[in-house]
């Protein structure tokens, strides 16, 4: 009885083996192409989060400038000025390399006329609440901005 059943089912066994082989091929291909960590947190590769976090910094952030034995004097000057909330790197550019190693990269010289007029040249599109706008050319009378406005206490 049992032998006869097996004989009758032989084509089914073959079919099942074929299906199994197909499934194994699929799993093999899938394991090869789906990257590690894919789908753990959503439809993406979890490692991508770390890859993006590992990108290099260029701006050090203002908190790293005014530390003791660095630019504490400048930080103290700036703290009393209306520019106190302007980040150091807003004018001096990205200086993460300098913050990491003060020896290697110094702040580039600042083109003060260009820099000051970026914010303070009068422009009708600037908000009316921003009253510190001047017509640069008649205002400066051919002298550099810092002659009257000290670089780190410009509003004094």
């Amino acid at each position: 009885m049992a032998r006869r059943n097996l004989r009758d089912a032989e084509h089914l066994v073959r079919l099942a083996l074929l299906f199994l082989a197909g499934a194994l091929v699929f799993l093999g291909i899938r394991a090869y192409f789906v990257p590690a960590g894919f789908g753990e947190l959503g439809h993406f590769r979890t490692g991508a989060l770390q890859d993006i976090r590992d990108r290099p910094l260029h701006f050090a952030g203002r908190d790293s400038c005014g530390e003791a034995d660095c630019h504490e004097d400048v930080a103290a000057e700036l703290a009393n000025d209306s520019h106190a909330r302007v980040g150091c790197e807003s004018c001096h550019g990205a200086l993460a390399a300098h913050a990491a190693d003060p020896e290697i990269a110094e702040a580039a010289a600042v083109d003060e006329l260009d820099l000051c007029s970026r914010c303070h040249a009068s422009n009708p599109a600037r908000p009316a609440s921003f009253t510190q706008q001047v017509e640069i050319e008649p205002h400066r009378e051919e002298s550099p901005c810092s002659e009257c406005h000290p670089a780190h206490e410009p509003s004094s």
Binding site: R30, V34, P35, F38, G39, E40, L41, G42, H43, F44, R45, T46, A48, L49, Q50, D51, I52, R53, D54, R55, P56, L57, H58, F59, G61, R62, H83, R85, V86, G87, E89, S90, G93, A94, S117, R118, C119, A121, S122, N123, P124, A125, R126, P127, S129, F130
Partner: protein
């Protein structure tokens, strides 16, 4: 690993019903914490930004800082953030029914500032900083066919550059025009909300250099974050709310003409 018959059937059914990726995500979803990531505590962050149009003076320091910080292609038409100047033509009393469109200009993305001469003399004009809205239901993420772009568990829309096939679907899908194809890698590129900075306790490069605090980054999951007070005290608006993208750039003082 021991596997009884019951567990085998459950796992097998799960595998057949769900995709392979969903099978692995299921334990996290089941425990109600799909946001858990290793390392940095993503579960306690949900990033957003407050942008005050009434404080933006159009200096373009944010555009410059973004390009430097994120190594954005130098050509003048690739930007992760840029500043637009809107000029609204005044209503002509002689022709009051005429439909007038605002004039928008953004020379070099506003990176070098804006010319003092307005496109229309005496018209209302203002600056609007633009960048990725880091939508909670982002269209760009939904259309990605390979899972290369995604929303991180702390609410930042990111691109896995090693996995992107460069099909440009996301570039077309973004209603805010915030994506482009990086010509060097032929992969999609966009604002990462300086994910490499904010996960280290720094603010974004654009917020770092903004001289007027027109941009403020905030963590909505931190009850002590100043952004809560800003949102409470201002009448804020998001761009294209009708698209239900769940945009997380909250604009104060946004004119209805801004698109």
């Amino acid at each position: 690993m021991s596997l009884d018959r019951r567990q085998f059937l459950v796992d097998g059914t799960m595998f057949i019903l769900l995709t392979g990726a969903a099978t692995r995500a299921w334990p996290f979803i089941e425990q109600g914490r799909p946001q858990d990531a290793p390392g940095y505590d993503t579960a306690s962050h949900w990033w957003a930004m407050f942008i005050d149009v009434e404080k933006c003076i159009g200096c373009g320091r944010c555009v410059d800082a973004c390009k430097v910080e994120n190594d954005v292609p130098p050509e003048p038409y690739y930007f992760r953030t840029w500043v637009e100047r809107y000029t609204i033509p005044p209503v002509d009393p002689e022709d009051a029914t005429a439909h007038q469109l605002p004039i928008v200009d953004s020379p070099n993305g506003g990176r070098d500032g804006f010319p003092a001469e307005p496109p229309i003399e005496g018209a209302k004009s203002f600056f609007v900083p633009k960048m990725c809205n880091h939508c909670a239901d982002s269209p760009c993420t939904q259309v990605c066919p390979v899972g290369a772009t995604f929303q991180s568990p702390d609410g930042v829309v990111l691109v896995d550059k090693t996995y992107c096939v460069g099909c440009r679907y996301c570039v077309q899908a973004c209603p805010y025009g915030c994506r482009f194809l990086d010509p060097r890698t032929n992969t999609a590129d966009k604002c990462t909300l300086c994910y490499h900075r904010i996960t280290k306790g720094l603010t974004t490069a654009c917020c770092e250099v903004c001289p007027t605090q027109a941009r403020v980054l905030g963590n909505l999951r931190n009850p002590d974050d100043p952004i809560h007070q800003l949102l409470r005290e201002h009448k804020v608006h998001v761009l294209k709310p009708d698209l239900a993208t769940g945009a997380k750039l909250y604009y104060n003082g946004l004119d209805g003409a801004v698109r």
